[in-house]
Symmetry: D2
Subunit: 453 residues, 4 copies
């Protein structure tokens, strides 16, 4: 795009979960480099001290933005042009229950934040929070664009639209980027093309968050689906090495196996993909997981990591550490620029289905490409989810809709219908499913308001 | 309906699978009582001797019809006004593989003809047969109404429409009738109403064959859903007694359990319902099955039963036995009368979804009520499949569409996508699923033409 | 239906527009003959004196119901099991503007209450009234079944659903009955079948109110579409005689002409049908109208008729006239009986499209057959509107949706978009259309609250 | 897009209508500048001499392509990577009938090639030609991308898909470009921004060809809809001067009037827009047309223009004139480059609706933006056609579908249903409509094969 008119924009960005010690710093970093944007970032967090800490850190990040922590959501959100939502629903204690309680019943989850028993319990405590947030946006900044980063992504975005149908919200996830990088690796290894840029790797994306599929891909005139086949043939056991204590990496063996079986490229990390499949496929037990080249992420690790990030926050505030700039790999600030009219580009996004995926239900939150431009996020027609994958995907897509309904009406019977038909609950009898569900509810009841627990 | 004009009709009914020793005799019985119908029944069967036997037996059945066996489908079908299809795809040897081979892998099936590994293998050998039959109808009697009784019902009906889209075909199944009788029992026990007639028990039916659900039911001003709740409360362990060697009965415990969990009335026998649920629910192992008050039907029993029916056929032909008349409980002849304009009534039927169930895919064969009248089968808007049940139902509905596509294109890779995501295959790893699939294909390859086996 | 259990029902029917001197008396008549129904009819009317008069007349009608006039809608509607709405939106002075003001611009309307400039203006004053009524129902008797008789039918029913989406409302119109009688005439004349009953003349109905089409029709085994062709061929100039001052009759020439052109049976009276077609077809000028065998109904006639009905009301109250019983030809009481579970039958009805007509927009109020049974009105899949007719029908269907939106938001610019694209406004330039619209608004502004006039 | 890999492509482009003296030369011009494309252009035309002439002229155009005329469509199309279709259906004698015969009945058409009586007659003779062409593509180059330029656009593209559903065809039209230029003028006049490039004027396009609407538009951060309002307010009588003998220009008064009435930007030239509206709006008579600032294009002018182009062809062949290069303003070659993977961009295109416009029928050919990239044309979700415009648009959209059906089945009764309900036929009685239709058929019957004329 030939930018004839150089325009600068002054905006207000409200950050819900503004005490974050991760995403928030990446945003600060990216904003510090956006030399055509000016304004304020208002930080709102139920942990006000954390927001205050980020007020301090934000000031250190450089750039054209000022950072203010607010105790009142009204102040934080009024007149916001953009709202970013990135929260932890509950604490890691609740996540510990989500992820590890099912292990007693033989259910192993690699992430536990999207689908499976953990994903559903997390959803049940997130939905009331998002109900509140949607109300804030409706009341204080109904015209703002809202970017969600919280998981379970589909459930969060759907809740926002259910509560405030006129909301201009979308959800962002960088899982697809990883697959684009895998294509770049294949281009390098098999075609000698180095440094292929992600933006030049064009993919057609269809599916739901963390179970997204690529049905067409190209790098200029090179068909990347053909290349991918060649790549898999050369790497029958996946690519790269994976160590058991590597909790986020994978060898892409699950992704390769799914391609072999279903003929399309699954576009998330293996840890996510495995959770959408029948429980005996990749997550039967920890040994099976390792054999497929990835690991279960223990919540104990997340707790340790949080402690490290708290220390880093303290160091940043005290000056013991300097604010680090880098390549965040995130697109949020570019999306903001596009929505202001300063750019226009196509990327993947999570929004309710208005027809972009004809064989998923209208209204379900789906992930496809969209054109970002001034005040517009227009999905591209992504085409049908590939036939063989569809029956698996619909189980989750329908159960997510059921869960949102259950959460909004605080109906645990309805929620259990989603729970007991989840693919990872396959191994349970009805009675076991009920017992596990009840135990997980009891464990996390402090964050389940209004459910009558 | 006030029948002012008494009309008599002369028609030709073609019976594909006309050597049948079950359905065919019921049809003869019902036709013998239809005093306003005259004409010919043409019997076509790949076992011509069996068709000839029924030519003899038909002559003994009384009534206004003549019975002729034909060796050529062209002769049998030309000028037919109605076509009835009721075949056995393969022999009981193939069915033995369908039902019992999966047991080696821990998969138990109560019927094995609709869903699960057995249902899918049966589908793969039925689809080429129905492809041929649809071609016959297109070529010899394109205006005929076609009634299908063969299982897997949805797959058979879908294949007919795929091959000859203008076909006027529908599928009939009496499973819903059984639930209406259960309502009649409840009316008797709880309200003292004796002999409630099935036609007065109005039900709204939505779903797919053998996994049909009743969302509204009444007997005059009595709400039968409320009554059903009361009935279940009084019978926490189901109704009636079930003995292990009772291979077709059940205590309705599965049906009651599903109502408790999903809030709607499942309207098939427990043996069918269990096969649509996760494998660990009702079919975990033979002990679990018995505990839920039903039995696995062994194919050895079917073989014995067939021998008895063959003997009966011989006895009927030789005059050692007399043709028995009774109440068949079937609606086929009434449907024929309605399509001729002699009656009009509402009953349940399997046809492609044109919108009667908004939350199932268009084109999938679904079961709902329809108005039968002169040259018309008009589905009633049945409403959405209840939320909680939908994710289970879609797994099968989508896999059936995939299987039909796989069968018509003889694509075993595609068929395996349906196979490995079937709910009863839950307990298998991908490799085990492949091994079982291959073994079942090998066992039945004589009836799998064109698949490259 | 074999009514084993003889049940009697005590119900409350609320009548909005209960001062009516037409429909209300028919209802009284029909209720007086329903020996299995008991209860109260509560009469509510903005003309309380008229409601009081009907309280008196109702008492004279005999039967098991008591009649009470209420000044408060709350009292009238609370605990109602059924609500009947039959009102005159405004007075005949407003209708005089609706029908006759457009004549200055060369637009002639035979009825002026459904479509055309008159229909749209009538809609604009009816929508706020129905907004209020829908609110009453939501607040006082949300579970009641609501039967609408007011025109414009589609607009009234749509408004009820827009304001209170959970409403159980439907609209009834007897125009289709007239076409069934025409079939009966043809059966008599061409086949010698006398006294064919309407209920035995089965029709498939698809379209929108007053522009409904019959795509399949039979009397037992007789195809009535074929018979209709024969009938038309024999009556090239229509059937029956029509005199200029016969304001409601017609010779069915329009209906026959539409059949010849479009190949399907238009199922309303010619006066209604003509208004959905391009202005130059049947309503070009009064001479053209007469040539097609029908008349424009002047509002002066309606005023005279009203005076006669007022006199009749006075006579009934004073005892100068006795309450007359007859065959009303209406189905309302039968529908009530069916909804109570005392009967079950199929008839035509106006409800929002949930898929029963695939090629009309979802949500548009459409007219098709439906099965009436205990607490249920289930539309039958009516099939597509015939191709050639569809483009005409969509003009009105879309404009009705636009008009309801315009009425609810009191947006006259939006309303004008429907007005200027109406088929009867064909002959106007944009400026003339605007002038006519403004004049009609000014004429009727006393009944257009909130529009800023 | 950062083109790292410089790729050159050798392709075969087949040109149906390759004797063209307009589009063909523009293509030659654009191809001569595409320095990354090489190959052959095969010219096929029923006028072989004309194709031969272009073989000569093509050689003069420079660049990397060779030009060959073929007498056999098989040779021309075999192995083609791209097919361009740009034909004249019949001669200008037929078009003379299309455009001017209706004038006898008071119907004036400014173009007469898309809609109105002329558009429908042109469709009826084009459909059989496109039926043939679709067959060629299916048989000789089923994988080729097919670009259509012939009018009536929607009808041509729909016919291709009806005959060969797997075709990869789309239709291109530059009418939207004109509106983008109008925005550029407004940017210059009102904001002082000179030389705004069309690619930087981002528009969201929804509708059908020649009746396309822009619902969102921006130039970087400038909202062009707001700007357009301002522009219209400043130019109440349109922009620019129009002389009666200026047959292609206009003052945009129709466009401005439609904006005022419907609140969205109509995106074609006024000559096209007027033909979709009721006949009395802009085309009542020649005086009205002039008053709205445009002209009726007489076919006599087209004939004269053709003579000039024939002369130019002769001059080019003889060397009396040199091949002229310029800015064609066409996108075809860029689209070809994108489909080869050499570029990726968003532009407007005509393809069957798969959901990109939710309130137009699925399958109707619609015009929206699409992303062009390697082997892909993915429509963007364009959103609903604005409410007020929809009823007008559906009349044409449905009539186009009806016309294609009528053309493929050679069913003139069906075609007449579209004809008599067209908005420009408003002024006719049914009998007049029939007479005009018959006269136009008779006039052009040499090009109406198989219709039984």
């Amino acid at each position: 795009m030939n930018t004839q008119t150089k325009t600068e924009k002054t905006i207000k960005i409200a950050y819900i979960g503004g005490g974050s010690r991760g995403w928030a710093w990446k945003l600060m970093d990216d904003l510090s480099k956006a030399d055509d944007l000016y304004g304020e970032v208002s930080l709102y967090d139920i942990d006000f001290a954390a927001a205050l800490a980020n007020e301090t850190i934000g000031a250190l990040s450089g750039g054209n933005f000022t950072y203010h922590a607010y105790e009142s959501p009204k102040e934080a959100l009024t007149d916001a042009d953009f709202v970013i939502i990135s929260i932890t629903p509950g604490t890691f204690d609740e996540m510990e229950s989500d992820v590890h309680t099912p292990e007693k019943y033989g259910i192993y989850q690699s992430v536990g934040d999207t689908v499976g028993p953990g994903g559903i319990l997390r959803a049940l405590r997130t939905i009331p929070m998002y109900e509140t947030i949607a109300g804030y946006i409706r009341d204080y900044c109904p015209q703002a664009w809202v970017i969600n980063y919280t998981n379970p992504m589909s459930v969060c975005v759907k809740t926002l639209y259910e509560v405030f149908p006129q909301i201009k919200a979308f959800g962002c996830c960088h899982e697809v980027f990883g697959t684009q990088e895998l294509f770049a690796d294949a281009l390098c290894e098999l075609r000698g093309i180095e440094n292929a840029q992600r933006r030049d790797i064009l993919v057609n994306v269809t599916g739901i968050n963390h179970f997204t599929w690529i049905t067409q891909a190209s790098y200029f005139d090179i068909d990347l689906i053909d290349l991918y086949k060649e790549y898999i043939a050369k790497h029958p056991n996946g690519v790269g090495k994976h160590e058991p204590e590597d909790y986020f990496g994978c060898t892409n063996r699950v992704k390769f196996d799914l391609f072999t079986r279903f003929g399309a490229v699954a576009a998330s990390g293996d840890r996510h993909l495995a959770e959408f499949c029948p429980g005996n496929w990749y997550l039967k037990d920890p040994q099976t997981v390792l054999r497929w080249g990835f690991s279960l992420t223990p919540v104990s690790w997340r707790k340790k990591d949080l402690a490290a990030r708290l220390q880093k926050s303290a160091d940043l505030q005290s000056g013991a550490a300097a604010f680090e700039h880098g390549d965040t790999g995130e697109e949020g600030v570019n999306q903001i620029r596009a929505l202001l009219g300063l750019d226009a580009f196509v990327t993947n996004v999570n929004v309710p289905n208005v027809g972009q995926i004809p064989n998923l239900p209208l209204g379900a939150v789906v992930e496809t490409n969209a054109l970002f431009s001034k005040d517009g996020v227009r999905p591209l027609m992504a085409g049908d989810v590939p036939g063989g994958v569809l029956s698996l995907m619909l189980t989750t897509a329908i159960n997510q809709l059921t869960t949102v309904q259950a959460g909004l009406t605080r109906d645990l019977d309805l929620a259990f219908r989603a729970f007991c038909t989840d693919r990872l609950c396959d191994r349970l009898s009805p009675a076991e499913a009920q017992a596990l569900f009840d135990e997980m509810l009891a464990n996390t009841k402090d964050y389940l308001p209004g459910y009558g627990l």
